[in-house]
Amino acid sequence: MRKCSLTALDALFAKMAESAALYLPVDGDDGRAHYAQWQEGLHLSDALNTVRSAKDFFFPQTENLMAFKVNGKTIEIIDTRTEADDFIVFGVRACDVRSFDILDTVFLAEPADSYYANRRAHGVIISLACTRPAETCFCSTFGIDASTPAGDVVCWKTDDALYMEAKTEKGSALMAALADLTEECDTDAVKAQQATTKERMAKLPLADLTADKFGGGKTMEFFSDPAWATLSEACLGCGTCTFVCPTCQCYDIKDFDTGHGVTRLRCWDSCMYSDFTKMAHGNPRLTQVERFRQRFMHKLVYYPENNGGVFGCVGCGRCLTRCPISMNIVKVMKNLGGDAK
């Protein structure tokens, strides 16, 4: 384990930014933290987490897949793929780091999504342990330890220093480059912080929430639950929960007519939208009840069923704070199966 004094943090960031674009959470004008590319004068936010997750760097909301150039009656196909530039995402919390396991399962399984794989290969994730989890946090429900995140490099920030530990080859390479700015250290301060954080985790309002009743093989148990109708009755059908979610991975592919050709792009889609899964014959999910059910069944039942029991939620709590009508996965988990609180 190595550490760097907080007074030298800027120098550390400057060093990192030399070889790759460095993104880190900074406070925005709206009083909330957003990712921004580091430059002299930008400071790491103290906020618990960013509004949008680090997913955006690897699976951006809009991505051009290919292009067609049209000239009169001829069409030329253009492969727009290029090798990605190296980049570093700093300050990813434990929950969001876990989301990459879920995204990787989807995008890196054969045939791998070359666009995603390209970014994963060139991106380094530096995680940051939580110290003050919020009332909306429930990562422990999914077995995540907020005090000890995964990542290429893991960091703990105390009052005076940033403690760092490489976890992967990419991480080790990065730490080697930072050797001049960091010093080897013991793990006492980190252990103390981890202990405190764990205590805090245990006292969170949602600490007792479990996903035990969900998982693979539970489709029949929950699919026809009458609670779906009441849970979804106020749902606006917007995509907020989907678009702030670090694990949602659905997309649509569209052709944009540029006037002189076509840009084929993919963009995030939301299962909450009425035209999601719309096919030639219409839409198999007729009402918002079915769309709403799909989103939560996917995270709590279908995904674990297909992926060795891993849930499709990481408990980051974004949907709890962002949903316009305050409906969210926690309320769903508590109300399904006749287990209303």
């Binding site: 004008d29 709206d30 009083g31 909330r32 957003h34 906020a47 618990l48 509004v51 949008r52 909301q61 809009t62 003050r132 989890p133 919020a134 009332e135 805090r200 006292k203 969170l204 309002p205 949602l206 009441t230 009755e233 106020a234 606006l236 059908g237 917007c238 995509g239 907020t240 989907t242 678009f243 702030v244 649509d252 569209k254 944009f256 792009l265 963009c267 995030w268 889609d269 939301s270 939208y273 009425s274 035209d275 709890l320 704070t321 962002r322 316009p324 009508i325 305050s326 409906m327 969210n328 926690v330 309320k331």
Partner: protein, 331 residues
């Protein structure tokens, strides 16, 4: 704290359920925390007793839910309307969006609703509970103990700039009706108008670049009730699912605001729900301010059946070139 209490609403709703006037009640259901109440439909007294809550975070405008709820009821659906909601209610009636006969509307006074984001910013993260009492709000937090913030500071933007405490539609009123307020709601618009074009462009580029095109602003908007929105219609020429670039962001927000121009009651739901805190109300209010200044004051939803400014004209209306000059006080 609100003047009307949960018990007042529940007892009135129960009575109307009992006497057969209504068979559905639109109300609020408690969440995990104080602030995360969810709109819900109640059909029996027991459920109401168990789950119905009312308080400073019950800001959702129920009028749009009437589009679906009024179709489901056999008798009438009971809806509680804050003063600002009644304007949306009337506007929807003007546009024939639901059957007035299927609705029983109770006007409830409103003391302003609180904004959880403002409370978090003013107190601390990790809000486990909120007590309001008169002019102060006590916030219970995970790590910073109890914090007190002034109620006035915690009010949602739309409540700070409340335009009316007067109900323009109801079947019955709980408590006292208020007055139309001479609010300062256009001050921010005026401030932007005073900027240079470069500053205005930078301001909006910054705001609109945050858009994630979740459509929450549209989906919550009581004026957006199209059977098929142009942004979801592949044949409209403007359909797109993502804010692919700054043009898409601009186009979405210009068209969204233009489509509700003259129909927007300034209920403020769009800004409330925006997960990216884009000040959408400043777009809508720009149109309202322009309409007021160019064509005379007009409040959408004040009267059922009123003629919206964009489907009306005067032979002596000002020319677009003049309008642009007047709308830009900096010039």
């Amino acid at each position: 704290m609100q003047t009307v209490t949960r018990d007042m609403l529940v007892s009135r709703a129960k009575a109307l359920l009992a006497d057969g006037t209504v068979d559905r009640v639109l109300g609020w259901k408690a969440g995990e925390f104080t602030y995360d109440v969810t709109p819900g439909v109640f059909t029996d007294a027991d459920a109401m007793e168990k789950e119905f809550v009312y308080g400073d975070f019950c800001g959702a405008n129920f009028s749009k839910y009437l589009l679906t709820e009024a179709r489901k009821t056999e008798k009438k659906v009971l809806v509680f309307l804050k003063p600002c909601d009644t304007y949306s209610f009337n506007q929807l009636l003007t546009e024939h969006r639901f059957d007035r006969e299927k609705v029983y509307a109770i006007g409830i006074p409103c003391d302003g609703m609180l904004d959880i984001h403002k409370i978090r910013t003013l107190s601390a993260e990790g809000v486990t509970g909120i007590d309001t009492d008169g002019e102060s709000v006590t916030v219970h937090t995970l790590y910073d103990g109890d914090k007190t913030v002034a109620r006035a500071d915690a009010l949602a933007e739309r409540c700070v700039n409340c335009k009316s405490k007067k109900h323009v539609a109801y079947d019955e009123l709980l408590g006292e009706d208020g007055e139309i307020i001479d609010s300062a709601r256009f001050d921010e618009v005026a401030a932007i108008e005073k900027m240079t074009p470069d500053e205005r462009f930078a301001f909006w580029q910054d705001a609109l670049s945050r858009c994630i095109r979740c459509n929450a602003c549209r989906d919550v908007c009581p004026a957006c009730t199209c059977e098929k929105c142009v942004f979801d219609n592949p044949n409209s020429g403007v359909e797109n699912k993502s804010p692919a670039n700054s043009f898409e962001e601009q186009m979405f927000h210009i068209i969204r605001a233009f489509h509700v121009a003259g129909r927007c009651t300034d209920c403020g739901e769009c800004s409330r729900v925006c997960p990216q805190h884009i000040p959408l109300h400043l777009l809508n209010r720009k149109f309202i301010k322009d309409i007021d200044e160019f064509y005379g004051e007009y409040q959408a939803g004040e009267k059922v059946g009123s003629r919206a400014p964009l489907v009306d004209f005067m032979t002596g209306d000002l020319e677009p070139s003049e309008a642009v000059k007047r709308g830009e006080t900096n010039a």
